[in-house]
């Protein structure tokens, strides 16, 4: 870090401040102002128009008694668990690709993994929605063709008792309240994120061939190699993506909005906190309450971020 420029020189370079003006004004208007406005309006009864009424903490008190909000936190908790589980294939994929001897194959696989990124996220989302379609959908056809459906029907009749997998009716993945969470779990199978694989690969890059050879001489098996050599090296990346994933899942609601609609699908089982905020603001017109919900979520996420900064060191 070089020292701060002495005032005399700084004065001579005063025009430099103009360089920052575009960025600063953009951020002030479109990031800081809305944030301040969100705090301010969370104390108001506000329908989005000119008139508003100060009501103190009433929005927050209402939120604490809001069943939908707490149920949505529960749902998002499940989604976080799912998403953490869904990190495993990406890690496995990165390790497998890294262990290949041939650089050419490594590069080839990397390119193949990036290919799904050329399809817009929304398109992927809608293709999956199409897969879930009860009559035409691919998922039900796969289950029928492989006989997996019979297993599900048997499981349902004898163990689960959900009454959702019936032998003679197509499975309504997105229309049955009990199936919403399982469907969200299946969503995106086999859960390989190109971006994740690429960062893990970057982390693995520092392991030289000698390390593997030495490990092999010592008789370390494939799993031993993973836990003693590979995992420690990508731990930073794994932790970082874990944190980002948790924060992202907590804020995210685009998937739920498009897959299930603004009410969170049948029985509201797919309702997440962000979607509830969206719903209150743009469906019910309760902007003030939506601001309060946003603030609650914001504080929640900020707390997690602080915890993460304290306990998870990220090397840039």
């Amino acid at each position: 870090m070089s020292p701060i420029l002495p005032p005399k020189q700084a004065l001579r370079n005063w025009r430099l401040y103009f360089f920052l003006l575009p960025s600063l004004s953009l951020v002030a208007i479109f990031s800081y102002f809305p944030a301040a406005s969100a705090i301010y309006h969370s104390f108001f009864d506000w329908q989005g128009g000119e008139t508003k009424q100060f009501i103190g903490w009433q929005n927050f008190r209402r939120a604490f008694g809001d069943r939908v909000l707490w149920d949505s936190f529960l749902t998002v908790g499940f989604l976080i668990l799912f998403n953490v589980f869904k990190m495993i294939p990406s890690i496995a994929m990165a390790v497998l690709i890294h262990r290949l001897k041939s650089d050419r194959w490594q590069y080839f696989y990397r390119v193949l993994l990036v290919v799904p990124m050329i399809v817009p996220h929304l398109v992927t989302l809608f293709i999956w929605k199409f897969f879930f379609d009860p009559n035409l959908g691919v998922l039900n056809r796969v289950l029928d063709a492989t006989g997996a459906k019979r297993v599900l029907v048997w499981l349902d009749r004898h163990i689960l008792g959900w009454n959702v997998f019936l032998g003679d009716a197509p499975i309504g993945w997105l229309s049955d309240p009990n199936l919403i969470l399982p469907a969200l779990f299946l969503w995106g199978f086999p859960w390989i994120g190109a971006v994740g694989v690429l960062i893990y690969l970057a982390g693995l890059q520092s392991i030289g061939q000698e390390v593997y050879e030495a490990a092999e001489l010592d008789g370390v098996g494939p799993f031993g190699k993973f836990f003693y050599i590979e995992l420690p090296l990508i731990l930073t990346q794994v932790r970082l993506s874990l944190v980002l994933l948790i924060i992202g899942t907590l804020q995210g609601y685009g998937l739920m909005l498009l897959l299930l609609g603004d009410a969170g699908g049948p029985g509201g089982r797919g309702m997440v906190p962000g979607l509830w905020m969206y719903n209150r603001a743009f469906i019910a017109g309760e902007f003030g309450y939506a601001c309060a919900l946003g603030m609650i979520l914001f504080v929640f996420i900020l707390g997690l971020t602080t915890l993460n900064n304290r306990y998870v060191r990220v090397d840039k």
Binding site: S2, I4, A10, L16, Y17, F19, L20, P22, S23, L24, L26, V27, I29, F30, S31, F33, P34, A35, S37, A38, G48, P89, M93, L96, R99, L100, W105, L112, L113, V114, V115, P116, M117, I118, V119, P120, L122, V123, F126, I127, K129, L136, P190, I192, G196, L198, I199, A202, L240, I247, L250, Q251, G254, L258, M277, A281, C291, G294, F298, T305
Partner: protein, 282 residues
């Protein structure tokens, strides 16, 4: 040397189980894309009759593609406008700002830097509702400018962060030499920084472009006019149609991917690297 080569060879041959596993994953991963492509040539009855395999090319229904293009072409044009101007604007602003932070340690520089970096940490979710009413007051609702400006603002922190680090690594002598020749700061930026930062700007541009292409929440609440729809809203609108001709919809999906495919083909390396770096942003 030869012993080493032998052992590598022997290990190379033992790689085949890993290849099998990787291929299994990749095949499943690419399955949705395969379905999209082959269904785009079928009508609903052909799809029900034979969902899995492509039909004979002689029976391909090109009308799906014509229909898809007509349906989604205008949305793509809007999205390209938003993505290109948004990306260019983001990079120009961020480059100017990064130069400010990297060239000298100006008074208040630290505070101003913190103002930007805090934004990377803060969740943006609480902003959405006030942002909507702000855009309404600025009469930017139902315009593409709203998307461009909000996108530019949101991308500043990350791009400033990357570009500042990059500019700081440029040897100071280059700037001083340019200053000797009478170049002011703008000229230094243009003749010293820009020529050196081609690949980093390319990477950032791809990331910004991808982000714009995938955006749908903001367009969904900002845009009302069908003429202004970007791809995101357009696809959602398409999904809401009651009776669906899957072939036409899939053809539209493929067409929606074409600009990204073009970028991918021309700058595969930048694309792959950009994605690895973008992950740090999250």
């Amino acid at each position: 040397m030869s012993i080493r080569a032998d052992s590598v060879n022997a290990r190379g041959q033992r790689d085949w189980p890993m290849h099998v596993v990787i291929w299994a994953f990749i095949v499943v991963e690419l399955f949705p894309i395969y379905m999209m492509l082959q269904v785009s040539f079928k009508d609903n009855s052909a799809f029900i009759e034979n969902p899995w395999l492509p039909t004979n090319p002689a029976r391909w229904i090109w009308a799906n593609w014509v229909f898809g293009l007509k349906l989604i072409g205008p949305y793509i044009a809007n999205t390209i406008f938003v993505a290109v101007s948004g990306t260019a604007g983001t990079l120009v602003c961020a480059l100017l700002g990064a130069y400010f932070f990297a060239r000298y340690r100006m008074p208040f520089g630290r505070v101003l830097w913190a103002l930007f970096m805090v934004l990377m940490m803060l969740p943006t979710i609480a902003n959405l509702v006030p942002l909507f009413s702000l855009l309404k007051n600025l009469s930017l609702l139902n315009t593409l400018w709203a998307l461009i400006l909000v996108g530019m603002a949101g991308a500043q922190a990350f791009n400033l962060f990357v570009l500042r680090n990059f500019i700081e690594d440029i040897p100071k002598d280059l700037f001083e030499a340019a200053e000797m020749d009478g170049a002011n700061h703008l000229a230094q930026l243009r003749h010293v920084v820009v020529p050196m930062s081609g690949s980093i700007l390319g990477t950032l541009a791809i990331l910004a472009f991808l982000g714009k292409w995938n955006e749908f929440l903001l367009p969904l609440i900002v845009l009302r006019d069908k003429d202004l729809f970007t791809l995101g809203v357009g696809l959602i609108y398409l999904d809401g149609e009651y009776v669906k001709q899957w072939g036409q919809i899939m053809a539209a999906y493929v067409i929606a991917s074409v600009p990204l495919i073009v970028i991918f083909l021309f700058c595969m390396r930048l694309f792959v690297r950009g994605l690895s770096q973008g992950a740090i942003k999250g």
